[in-house]
Amino acid sequence: MPLLDVKNLTMHYTTKMGDVHAVDDVSFAIEPGEAIGLVGESGCGKTSIALTLLRLLPDNAKFLGGSVLFEGVDIVRIPEEEMRKIRWRGISMIFQAAMNSLNPVYRVGDQIIEAIQTHFPIDYQAARRRVAELFDLVGLAPELMDRYPHEYSGGMKQRAVIAMALACAPKLVIADEPTTALDVIVQDRILRRIDEVRKELNMAMLYISHDIAVIAEVSQRIGVMYAGNLVEFADTVRIFKNPAHPYTIALMSAFPSIKGEKRKLQGLSGEPPDLLRPPSGCRFHPRCPYATAVCTESPPEYREIQPQHYVACWHPHLGRS
Amino acid sequence: MAVRKFFLVFAALGFVAAAQVLNIGIFEDLTTTNIWARIGPDATVWNTYVLGGSHGALYGSVAPTWTWLPSLADGFPSEFVEENGKWVATVKIRKGITWTDGTPLTADDVVFTFNVLLTEVGGQRMAIALGGNWPSYCPDTLLAVEKVDDYTVKFVYAEEPGLGEWTFGALGCPIVQKAYWEPKFQAALQTDDPAASLLAVVPEGEPILGGYRLVRWEPGAFAQVDKNPTYYATGESLTLYEGGGAVIDNPRLGYHFEAYGGATGPVLHKLVEGPYVDSIIYPIYLNQDAAVLALQKGEIAMFLNPLGLAKGFEDRLKATPGVTIISNPPWGFRYLAFNMRREPMSYKAFRVAVATLIDREYVAESVFQGIITPMYSAVPESNPFWHNPDVKIYGKGLTHAQRVEEAVRILKGAGFSWDAEPKVINPGTRNEAVVGVLPDGTQVPAPKGFKLPDGRYCPEIELLAPSAGYDPLRATFAIYIEQWMKELAIPVKANLTGFNVIVNKVWAPDGFDFDMYILGWSLGNPAFPDYLYYFWHSSQDVPDGFNTPGYRNPEYDALAEAFLKAKSVEEARPLVFKMQEMLAEDVPYVILFDTPIKEAYRADEIEFPYTEVLGGIQFVWPLTTVKALK
């Protein structure tokens, strides 16, 4: 059985202007120890999914259906107190803005110790030792643990945040844009480190990024999201070799060529839709070069067009000619 | 633990209560305990309430009749005789009077007191340098005070002094002990500001003569005075007769004295000196409400307030069982002053017209419902000896309509005129007015364009009065006066403002800068109304002088001078009557009203020898004749 099994997850935000269809009918699964990537333009619902998994959604988030089974437990339906126990120990997260995810008025070490002591009944000294290991693991000098966040550099903070995420040896770590704030070289180094650590500790990993290039190399399977829908899901090689969804194809074409300079999403006119009033039928049709009448009428179902290759499209791009 | 101690203190309190204690509320803290400061720059009524009983004087005017009698002195002073160009009189001092340290009071103490005042420091007399009331005890014409023998002192004047300088001047001066003050005074003389140094002395254990001495002062909380066991007058009886006669009898000193015809006719008052109360505690209340509550709860036997009770407090206390309320005529008045140096106030007719318009009775009876008494003469009728009952009262008993017509007549008579002259229509009816339509249909226009006799339009007149904040009574009165004058199209504007603002305008550094103002005076010694001189004598019409209206009338000046120089009150009385008539006639002031002094006390705790006295109990406090009933 998969470690995490997301089935037809649907979540909307209620606002004064109406409902925002943030996540609609999303399904995917993560096997223990496996690394998965989730890509899509910003505002396509990636982060919403992450937050749903930890149940950290704001008050106005409305859970409309589906289930999230973590080790067989449906974590969207269990009481808060139990969820609290699952947080960090079962599922932990590396946040987008590492800079701000550390409380400025407490020592970095103490903030990690706090997490450990909440979940394991061990005393302060033991916890300190644990932190020292973690720091060592992410490549930080243990003595740094008694410093305050503002005394850290960007990269160090990021590492600290990673260390924190690993503190309770979780089964699944969600990494939401783990490296966007950093310069390319550091990005690379950190991602590698995360990957090594993952293998060492045999955790499952859920990478979330708007930049497919970043996560391609560290994730075994990749899901592509568009406007609140998971439009394609397959192992990394497949996604790159023969993507089936027109949107994925467009993303691919934005992939750096040898020359290295990025091109604008090719053949894609217009903007991502306003999730307040998502388009009828396939949400991608207004921008889709291959759109036909059917696309505008009914939404395509999310089906397995080839083993382990899921697509939601009326006219999937099959094989290559 | 703490609680137990608490009870112990209560026990102690119980013990204290065995000795007689009076609690008398006051509203402001002492500012000094030093006699020089108390009579001088710190001459506040509150200091007097608490410390007034500590020192004695040679003579004094005794309430409630204000009979002038010896207190430390033995009999009346001698007549003045001229000795080589100077005028000399002697005063005998009673024998057997002792200070609290046991030493006797002798001529040396009296002489020392005056020598301090007479000492020249920095080109002026110490009396002046000390300021406050000292100058009046040490008039310029007093040259020296010398010891004749241990119990006789000689006063030397440059010219024969009158009541002001002698009877009600030097002879009323508080006497201090030489032995205690001599060294301190000498020390003070060595400093560069002797007066200041003298005022700064904290008189620890100063021997005194009076009935009560200060034993505790808890700044901001309370002050306590205890009775002086060696008080010279304890047990001394003073009998006052309706004929005006007075008999003093002091068995302890074996002293007997009769004056003003002695024991003739029925007895008016028989006062036997105490002090009867072991100690009086003066808790300080910072607002009257607190004091009233305390009185209702019986925490205090009464409280002292120079202004008396406000109407509301009276209403509230009437209901309280055990509380008695007494009402006494005030010794003062609130008045409207004209600046006679300016037009149109310079015209007698104008002042008379305004006086005619002012309906004191209406405001007093209707608006203020009897909390104020209308006044007409410069000497309140509460002082029958000096008050002249038949002075001219403009507009007395007229209706509003009649007053308007009368005023218009007076003004026209003096050459004033209007563009549209005020006419009263349907007088006496509900819609009586100076503008409107007559029954016959003729339209009476609103009066306008008030003109001076020379035809120029009357300049804008400012009427200064305390704001409702400072004194609602005067504020309201001012607003009414403004209304009445405006009815006649007189361009007046009532400016209700802060007390200090008025004072600083009236007594502006360079002369008097006002048109009309309303303020009040509380008057000094009822036995001798010398303010009649200060307020209207032309010599006072100088910057910072007291003749604010600028009243200059040679005839009045002559009277006023004669009055100060008079040798006896009998001689002075007719003069005072004439002065009142002239003032009422020329109206430099319009005497408006004053409020009777209402006082409340717990009849079950405190007993007074008399409750009918000019200015109320607070005016004669402290009393060595009060008794505590608990």
Binding site: L54, L56, R84, I86, R87, W88, R89, S92, F95, N103, P104, V105, E114, A115, T118, D123, Y124, Q125, Y148 | M1, A2, K5, F6, V9, A12, L13, V16, D29, T31, P41, D42, Q124, I128, L130, G131, G132, S136, D193, L199, E218, P219, G220, A221, F222, P283, I284, Y285, L286, N287, D289, A290, A294, N500, V501, N504, W507, D530, Y534, F535, D544
Partner: protein, 383 residues
């Protein structure tokens, strides 16, 4: 750190100097002078008033007076009060200050102790009914017309229930033969309060190394309780306990009034700064870490939100003079506020100026205190 403080002190001196100048100019602009008080007594000849004016230094050129004034202030001499001539202004202030100090110290601390948790609480329950109710109540007390509140309190507690005396700070009958003066008692009270406060602050420092949060909290409470106990015993056996008690008893109503009026300020400020902090990412992180709500609220949110509240509170302590005016009048509490009011009404300029100057010094010093406090409370700040 030290260099910074030095620099701040220099700044403060400049500001203070300007402040003095302003105060002086304002009072120069005031018309008339104290000697006018005696205008009411015709027996006092103009010369006597002149003499007084000279002695009070009301003559001489403005410039001389100014120099004289500034020199005096910087030599710790606030001049001589007119009302209490020839008493020194500083002497008067020394007498009145402790009363106000105790009153407001207690009240402000209570207000803080009330407003801080409330603000925390309602911010956390943003938008719920309790939030609105508490907020509105807070604002109501915060904007209530002080005399009105005083009247109501006096009415209820003194008139109807008769629990407290209607004014003053002691019962004269109890103080006829006291072993100590109220001054001393007030000073001792102030000392006690500051002592306990220090202990409370210190307890955080002492217990910071204790591993688990819960025992740490208990250790802290223990220390404070111990302090309280000791203080209580000390007062009990000092033999002046009953006197102190009398004063404390009189303090109740004014303290209640001030507390009610000022807790709203702290509360609303705390609420707002909480709401801002709650949006920070590290709060989400804390949630994600699976920390209990209470820990997130009290440790992560409140702790950071505290800073602006502290500033406001500390600086607020400086304005006891103006704050006292109304309260002290209503409750006959002869402290700085009343002193100032009287001084102004009586045109006792030196005293009034003294009070203002004093306030100035106090506030400026508190600014410094805040800086230092920050250095301790906020690791980001290091001077």
């Amino acid at each position: 750190m030290l260099r910074y403080i030095g620099w701040r002190i220099a700044q403060i001196f400049v500001t203070f100097f300007l402040f003095l100048t302003m105060v002086f100019l304002i009072f120069q602009a005031m018309p008339g002078d104290y000697t006018k008080q005696f205008i009411m007594n015709p027996k006092i000849p103009p010369e006597a008033r002149q003499a007084l004016a000279e002695r009070l230094g009301l003559t001489g050129s403005v410039w001389d007076q100014y120099l004289h004034y500034v020199r005096n202030v910087f030599t710790g001499n606030l001049g001589v009060s007119f009302q209490h001539y020839p008493r020194e202004v500083w002497d008067v202030i020394k007498e009145r200050l402790p009363r106000t100090a105790v009153l407001f110290l207690v009240a402000d601390l209570l207000a803080f102790a009330l407003g801080y948790p409330l603000g925390k609480y309602i911010a956390w329950r943003r938008g719920r009914i309790s939030d609105y109710v508490v907020t509105v109540t807070g604002v109501l007390f915060y904007t209530i017309f002080t005399p009105l509140l005083a009247i109501i309190l006096l009415f209820v507690f003194s008139n109807v229930l008769g629990w407290f005396r209607s004014g003053g700070f002691l019962t004269p009958s109890l103080w006829l033969r006291p072993p100590v003066s109220p001054q001393t008692v007030f000073l001792l009270l102030t000392a006690t309060i500051c002592g306990l406060l220090g202990l409370w602050a210190g307890s955080h420092f002492l217990t910071r190394r204790i591993g688990h949060p819960r025992p740490r909290a208990w250790a802290r409470r223990g220390l404070v309780a111990l302090g309280l106990g000791l203080a209580g015993i000390a007062w009990g056996y000092s033999g002046i306990g009953s006197y102190a008690w009398d004063i404390v008893w009189h303090m109740f109503l004014p303290v209640l009034a001030v507390t009610l009026i000022s807790f709203g300020g702290t509360m609303l400020l705390m609420r707002d700064s909480m709401l801002e902090v709650i949006r920070e990412d590290y709060i989400t992180t804390a949630k994600a870490k699976g920390l209990p709500e209470k820990v997130i609220r009290d440790k992560h949110a409140a702790r950071t939100a505290l800073l602006p509240t502290i500033t406001n509170f500390t600086i607020g302590l400086g304005f006891i003079v103006s704050g006292g005016i109304v309260t002290e009048t209503m409750f006959s509490w002869k402290g700085m506020g009343l002193t100032y009011l009287e001084a102004v009404l009586q045109q006792d300029f030196p005293l009034a100026m003294g009070c203002l100057t004093f306030t100035g010094i106090l506030v400026l010093l508190l600014h410094l205190v805040v800086d230092v406090l920050y250095a301790f409370l906020d690791p980001r700040i290091s001077y």
